[in-house]
Every structure is written in structure tokens, then in C-alpha cells.
């Protein structure tokens, strides 16, 4: 009885850890390239997030299934191999069913392969835990990542174009803030958001 209840807590924490406590972007500061690159608008950011969730869950499942067979020195190459395979599939899917998004994301879809989040989750969770925990962990971390992307993209899209998810939200008189669409907007917004995240954490700890 006692054993099953701890197991339950494990499942729950696997799912929720990625949302805030171990949020890849705000707390762990890994995989910083997509949050900067694809967040000029919410739509590509959301697509990117979904792709990462897909790849993360699939690779977690694959690695968790073969975790007992892994040789230590061939571990990393097995990780990258399975990640690359799933990224190729995600890329193909986008090209077939959402050509516009595939074009907007461009090289950043294949670059998911070298996104540290996925290899980090593979190393930290999937190569140690069973399949179900790995799936939940993948969903949790992926969702945390997607949320971070969407927050950042939302701020940038509203300020740079006056729209949110392609719907106009700002009054007509609003002058678009073009700098937010440029690299500088990405860096500064993410920097301020990280500062805010640190502030919240320290306030909570007090």
C-alpha cells in the first residue's frame, strides 16, 4: 500500500516538475535557442513547442525501453540516433501537413536534434525510469517548454505587430515596435522574463 502511494507521487511529480520547478527555459536555462529564434509570433512558437513535445515523448519512450541494454560508452550516440529519427519524422509531418509553419521554422526544426532539453531528459530520466514515468516526464517538460515559448512569443507578437495569434488586440493607433521582432527584442525580453522568474522564486522562498 505504502509503496503504491509513493509511486503515485512519483508519477505526479514527473508530470508537474517540468512546468515550473524544472522548467527548461526559466529554471534550468537549457535549450535556449528556440525560445529566442522562433518566438516572433505565437503560431510558430506553438508549433515548435508541439514538435518538441512529440520528439521528447517518443525519444523518452524509445530510450526507456532500451535502458537496460545500453552500453555506457555508446549511450550518447544511441540517444542522438533516436532523437534524430523522430525529428526527421516531425519535420516530414510538418512539411506535408503544415507547409507554412515548416517554412517559418525552417532550419530550427532539424535543430531540435541538438536541443539540450531532449538529451538532458534522456540522460536524467528516461535512461533510469520506466516507460510510464518517462512519458509523463516528456509531456511535463515539453509543456513547460511550450508555455515558456508561448509567453515569450505572446509578448513579442503583441508589441511588434499588435496582434496575438494573428488576431488584432491592440488599438489601431498603436505603433508597432519593430525592434521586438529583431534579435534584440528576443534577447532583452527573455532576459527580463528570466529576471522575473528569479524574482518570483526568491519571493516564494522568503
Amino acid at each position: 500500500m505504502a509503496e503504491s502511494s509513493t509511486a503515485k507521487i512519483d508519477y505526479l511529480s514527473a508530470l508537474t516538475a517540468g512546468l515550473w520547478k524544472e522548467n527548461p527555459t526559466f529554471r534550468l536555462l537549457i535549450g535556449m535557442c528556440p525560445p529566442l529564434a522562433v518566438t516572433t509570433a505565437v503560431k510558430p512558437a506553438l508549433t515548435m513547442g508541439l514538435c518538441v513535445i512529440f520528439v521528447l515523448v517518443c525519444s523518452n519512450v524509445a530510450i526507456s525501453l532500451m535502458r537496460n541494454l545500453l552500453k555506457p560508452h555508446l549511450r550518447i550516440i544511441m540517444f542522438t540516433l533516436s532523437i534524430a529519427a523522430f525529428v526527421t519524422i516531425a519535420d516530414l509531418y510538418l512539411r506535408a501537413f503544415s507547409p507554412k509553419m515548416s517554412e517559418a521554422l525552417g532550419a530550427y526544426v532539424p535543430l531540435i536534434i541538438v536541443n539540450c532539453i531532449i538529451i538532458f531528459r534522456a540522460e536524467a530520466c528516461a535512461s533510469k525510469c520506466n516507460v510510464w514515468v518517462s512519458i509523463l516526464d516528456g509531456i511535463g517538460s515539453g509543456t513547460g517548454f511550450t508555455l515558456a515559448l508561448c509567453v515569450l512569443a505572446g509578448i513579442r507578437e503583441i508589441l511588434a505587430a499588435g496582434t496575438f495569434f494573428d488576431y488584432r488586440v491592440m488599438p489601431k493607433a498603436f505603433v508597432p515596435w519593430a525592434a521586438m521582432q529583431m534579435p534584440v527584442g528576443a534577447f532583452v525580453t527573455l532576459g527580463l522574463l528570466l529576471g522575473l522568474a528569479t524574482l518570483i522564486t526568491t519571493k516564494r522562498a522568503d
Partner: protein, 196 residues
């Protein structure tokens, strides 16, 4: 002469104007993580330059002579990442065996490098830009590494000074680095339009 001009412009373009860190956000992780000290940043930059040059050329050769003629473009990503991992491994072994002193300076970064976005990034962009001669590939992939070294060294130098500055408590560390990086990209935007 004309070719020389194209090569020069391509080199300047990837080092300064289209610096991968500032315009394409590739390699931001080590940019934030390692750039605390100038000498380690420089070591990291050199190691990356070495691997980008090697893997840029290798992936292009494989793509041009094996994948495209056989219609295997679909396995491109898998091949690229395996080549990069292999190249990193080879470089590590070679340097450890023949240049132990060099290994001590940048060898520790080598295993980290295979997941550096700059490297896969240049391999993919060479493909997207549809570059079709080896000289240009070599120049561009070396240039990207040099551009990365430039960016990471500038950042490290700034951060060495930032350590003495009174930064708001919650902005210390990564946030202020990102904001500084933002200001740096604005400075680098001044170079845009230089390449015609």
C-alpha cells in the same frame, strides 16, 4: 578574382554580418554557460571552430556525393548528427594522443560540443543556401566558428567587467547576460548591408 571576392564576402558575412549567435541565435547555451572567463571562452571558441570546419566539409561531401545522387535526402539529419558526433570523437582522440598540452586547454569542452547548435546549424544552412563548391563550404564553415569565437569572447570580456557592477539582485547571472547580448546584437546590426 571573382571567386576570391565571393569567398571573402562569404567569410565576412558569416563572421560579422550574419553572425550565427547574434542573428540566428545558434550556440546560445554555451554562450550563456561558458562565457564567464575570457581564456576558457577562447578555448571553447577554438574547439568549436575546429569542429565546425571539419564537420561542415564532411557533411557537405557526404551530402553531395552520397545522399543526393542516391536520393537519400530523407536520412540527412540522422547522417549529419552521426557525422558530427563521429568528428568530435575523432578530434578528441587525435588531440589527446598527439597534442596533450592542447588537450588540457580545450579537450574538456570537446564532448560538450557535439550538442552545440552552431555545428549542426552550419551543416544545415550550407544545405539551405545550396552552396555547390568545396572552397566556399570550407570558408563558410570556418568563418562560422570564428564568428562564434568572436561573439563568445566579446561576451566573456564584458562579463568579466560585469562582475564588478552593481546589478539588481534578480537580474544577476543569465538575465543580465541576455540583455547585454541584446545590446550587442544592436551594435552588430550596424554591419548589415555591408555585403553587397
Amino acid at each position: 578574382m571573382d571567386n576570391m571576392y565571393v569567398l571573402m564576402m562569404g567569410f565576412l558575412s558569416v563572421v560579422i554580418v550574419n553572425n550565427f549567435v547574434f542573428t540566428k541565435f545558434l550556440g546560445t547555451c554555451p554562450y550563456l554557460g561558458v562565457s564567464g572567463r575570457l581564456d576558457t571562452a577562447f578555448g571553447m571558441g577554438l574547439a568549436v571552430t575546429f569542429v565546425t570546419a571539419l564537420s561542415g566539409i564532411l557533411t557537405w561531401l557526404v551530402d553531395y556525393y552520397i545522399l543526393v545522387p542516391n536520393g537519400l535526402e530523407i536520412t540527412r539529419y540522422v547522417c549529419y548528427i552521426l557525422i558530427i558526433a563521429g568528428a568530435v570523437q575523432l578530434v578528441e582522440m587525435y588531440v589527446r594522443k598527439f597534442f596533450p598540452a592542447l588537450y588540457r586547454t580545450f579537450g574538456i569542452f570537446l564532448p560538450l560540443i557535439s550538442t552545440n547548435c552552431v555545428i549542426l546549424g552550419i551543416c544545415l544552412f550550407i544545405n539551405i543556401w545550396a552552396i555547390d563548391n568545396l572552397a566556399e563550404v570550407a570558408v563558410l564553415s570556418t568563418g562560422v566558428g570564428i564568428g562564434f569565437t568572436l561573439a563568445i569572447c566579446i561576451m566573456a570580456a564584458i562579463r568579466e567587467n560585469l562582475a564588478l557592477v552593481d546589478v539588481p539582485e534578480s537580474l544577476k547571472g543569465a538575465p543580465i547576460t541576455l540583455i547585454t547580448a541584446g545590446l550587442l546584437t544592436m551594435a552588430f546590426m550596424g554591419f548589415a548591408g555591408m555585403i553587397k
